[in-house]
Point group: C2
């Protein structure tokens, strides 16, 4: 936790009373005492500092902060993620890691090799992702929650929903093993906004690759190695970031 | 498991008898039957195919393969990792993920913000890392185990050991927040071999940064976001890969 985050309604003017895991973190992990100043932020709002004006250092922990929030959140990366729904344990990690990298939007879709049962995960119920997104924000000193959307059927998504989404992006990129084209051959000028697609464990089936390409995605390879989905998300995001940085 | 790996001494001529988790994987996950062919390899040796010539499909599972190994392992990436020892749960994941990315050598060192107790992990005993390295090989269809070495004291490492190691590398790169230099400004020609350094949770202390720089490391930033160590390892490796690919 590199920043203490709270919802707007938790603030009482410039005071913030914490009595949950955040209070415990301030006491036990950070080892703070009264008068200390720590990084704070409002979820989807500003960042700044909080001064500890009172605290209880043993269970039940509580901490009262006097906050001053003046600084905007860091830039998102302008690189969004289209992801075939992974198993819940992996999705949790990806939500947090992608958020920490600065992904602004995560679109979860179905694919042939996604197990139907993955869609029943409690993680996907209203607000179920939020905890993991907040972990990513707390890690990377960000405040803005990424937007997460879900599309439980591939064909209606690619035919009806995607044509509207795609207008937001200058680059639609599909990581696909066996391709000869490299990423730097696909990104020749600085993108306004990029969407990259990562398939399920076992990969996209041919039909899905065809539909994605017909919808505007261009494919590239990052080598022959088969990566786990969570490794691939970070690796491809980072490679795109590096290519864009080199062009900037 | 995208390849079934076995030690040289497990092969009886071109026959391989499996009766452990690998046999279970072939039966239960891959759903193979007699006559099917699957990817096999010898650890630190060749890759190829194995034909199932007999099997028992219920507990205790066993599978006999007739193998033909003709193909060399994939290239390693020529990008090695110098890593401040992380906590065991994170180290396990990093060993596997770094191996799957093709890292050939992982050098674990002490740093001021590494908890002393991390060095007591059973994972660090002789052979304790092997299982996690093999997971990475199985994922990425590789056979060659990365070399892992450990240096439990920073000062003797940087003063006595590192001067010999450094001759193996054309580029020594230190990911360091707050730096203005980007990676593509640090890699101007295709490296023969690169070593990148990732600090502990909380970062290197100033003394360590100074010693690393005095020893030949040049620092760069990948932005202001603070990443978890496991995310940072993949992100920096991937960014270096992308910059090198763009120069090739």
């Amino acid at each position: 936790m590199n920043i203490i985050l709270a919802d707007a309604e938790e603030f009482d003017g410039n005071k913030l009373l914490l009595s949950d895991h955040r209070a415990k973190h301030i006491v036990k992990i950070l080892g703070c005492k009264e008068g200390d100043t720590i990084r704070c932020g409002e979820i989807n709002g500003l960042r700044g500092e909080g001064k500890i004006i009172s605290m209880q250092r043993k269970f039940p922990f509580h901490v009262v902060l006097e906050v001053e929030l003046m600084q905007g959140p860091p830039q998102k990366t302008n690189i969004d993620l289209l992801l075939a729904l992974p198993r819940p344990i992996m999705l949790r990690r990806i939500l947090s890691q992608a958020t920490s990298l600065g992904v602004g939007k995560i679109i979860l879709i179905h694919a042939n090799r996604v197990e139907k049962s993955f869609w029943d995960a409690s993680l996907l119920e209203s607000g179920g992702c939020r905890e993991h997104l907040i972990h990513g924000l707390e890690q990377s000193v960000d405040t803005r929650l990424p937007h997460v959307e879900m599309h439980q059927r591939f064909k209606p998504f690619i035919e009806n929903t995607f044509p509207e989404i795609k207008n937001d992006y200058s680059h639609l990129l599909l990581a696909h093993p066996g391709e000869n084209t490299t990423l730097s051959q696909r990104i020749l000028s600085v993108p306004s906004k990029t969407l990259f697609a990562i398939g399920p464990e076992g990969g996209w089936v041919d039909y899905e690759v065809t539909r994605l390409k017909d919808s505007g995605f261009t494919s590239f390879s990052i080598g022959d190695r088969i990566l786990k989905v969570d490794t691939a998300v970070i690796a491809v995001h980072s490679r795109i970031s590096a290519v864009v940085e080199g062009l900037s």
